[in-house]
């Protein structure tokens, strides 16, 4: 969906929203895996946010609000619908946190510092793991912010994050063994 005109014009929206532009685009590109779709997604996010800005509650988390709009918009897109079909049906809330592995492929990262290897492994994560990992480690959101953004309980954030990290470690280990 292409939007060519934004209607509402609150003075402070631009000041609040534009500093988030780079990180929202980065997140959108990770979700869509495509530059043009990422641009469409960010454009639609800003259009929706501007239009609904009057309903934004001052004092609540604007960043989480913007990310939630972006993510919900993504989920209703064709790419988003395809991505969510891969979502595990496991009851995440009931899963205990996973303990750390005995072997630590992080040492591989220390020794090799291979940026492309890490990017490729993140890219291969299922969408619901990729997004929670990026929100935590790249956007440095708190668990509460992530819960607000993804509209899930904090317990689910923790278990999903734990699983995402384990999957990433397993993926890195696999790549390392291949290499």
């Amino acid at each position: 969906m292409y939007l060519t005109r934004f209607d509402a014009q609150p003075d402070s929206f631009e000041e609040l929203a534009m500093p988030l532009f780079d990180q929202l685009y980065n997140f959108a590109h990770w979700l869509t895996r495509n530059r043009e779709e990422a641009e469409d997604l960010v454009q639609e996010t800003y259009a929706k946010a501007l239009k609904g800005f009057s309903s934004f509650q001052v004092g609540t988390n604007f960043r989480a609000w913007m990310y939630r709009i972006l993510r919900n918009t993504f989920l209703t897109s064709r790419t988003g619908l395809n991505a969510t079909m891969t979502l595990s049906l496991d009851s995440e809330e009931e899963e205990p946190e996973l303990p750390g592995d005995g072997e630590t492929p992080e040492t591989i990262l220390m020794e090799r510092s291979n940026l492309q290897l890490v990017q490729g492994t993140i890219d291969e994560l299922p969408a619901h793991f990729r997004e929670v990992l990026l929100l935590c480690d790249v956007e440095e959101m708190s668990y509460q912010e992530i819960a607000d953004t993804l509209s899930i309980p904090i317990g689910t954030v923790m278990s999903r994050l734990s699983r995402a990290r384990k999957t990433l470690r397993d993926g890195l280990r696999l790549q390392f063994q291949k290499g």
């Binding site: 500093p19 780079d22 590109h29 990422a38 800003y46 205990p96 946190e97 220390m110 480690d137």
Partner: protein, 251 residues
């Protein structure tokens, strides 16, 4: 084992999300347990690697400008003055037709210089000025390896008034480039480096060093060894020229 219960919470600890009392207990344990401290260190390195790898995609300047224009507050218009806008539009149309040829010959360079000025301003307004923070050129230069499709040299700044703040990736005309930020007497100066063949500068401006006139900052640009350099900032023209000369000395 006691450590197993700690390991299960290691990531939560490193995310700073354990209750404060548990954080303190974990701190004490990590400081006294070689196994957990090693695990904690490697997890921190992994988090950092994910953070760096996750900052992968940068929006184009053109896309940023498009969104910026749409979210910028627009001046309110009076409906009763609608006819005046119609008349003004007609005048603009006539003037546009008459001057289109002249403007067409200027728009190529003007657009590039304008975009360079936009990139400079947007970066200074950004919450994260640089992606690699270092005053050491031997740290900043290698950071660009694998990110841009060319190599370039940075000048030695000893005995000069300039200091390097760091660098970041940038894009101009869909082309990746290096953006370096220097400081001189509290003025930030941007140095942009792109592959010359990737930029659409009009004939006659491709190879020479010159100072664009229609830019609201002091700017100097030149091309050498296949690379196009832009130095821009609100510092004096003399400072811009001095920094440009330092770069020309190493290129």
């Amino acid at each position: 084992m006691v450590c197993e219960s700690w390991k299960a919470k290691l990531d939560t600890y490193l995310d700073g999300e354990l209750p404060s009392e548990e954080m303190r207990a974990f701190d004490d344990h990590v400081h006294n347990c070689p196994s957990c401290s090693t695990n904690a260190l490697t997890r921190v390195v992994a988090k950092r690697a994910i953070q760096v790898a996750g900052r992968r995609f940068t929006p184009s300047a053109e896309f940023r400008r498009r969104i910026q224009q749409r979210v910028a507050p627009k001046p309110r218009r009076s409906i009763s003055l609608g006819w005046m806008f119609a008349a003004a539009a007609a005048v603009v149309l006539i003037v546009g037709v008459v001057t289109s040829n002249y403007v067409g010959t200027r728009s190529g360079s003007g657009q590039v210089f304008s975009e360079i000025a936009d990139l400079h301003v947007v970066t200074l307004a950004s919450s994260s000025l640089v992606d690699v923070i270092s005053t050491d050129r031997h740290t900043v230069k290698p950071w660009f390896q694998g990110k841009i499709p060319f190599a370039f040299d940075l000048p030695e700044l000893q005995n000069s008034e300039f200091s390097l703040l760091g660098g970041r990736m940038t894009y101009l005309d869909q082309t990746p480039g290096a953006h370096l930020i220097y400081d001189v007497r509290k003025h930030h100066i941007s140095v942009f480096v792109f592959q010359a063949r990737s930029l659409r500068l009009p004939a006659g401006q491709n190879d020479n060093s010159f100072t664009p006139k229609d830019v609201s900052f002091n700017m100097e640009t030149w091309s050498k060894d296949g690379l196009r350099y832009f130095v821009i900032g609100d510092a004096s023209a003399a400072d811009i020229d001095s920094l440009a000369k330092l770069f020309k000395g190493v290129t």
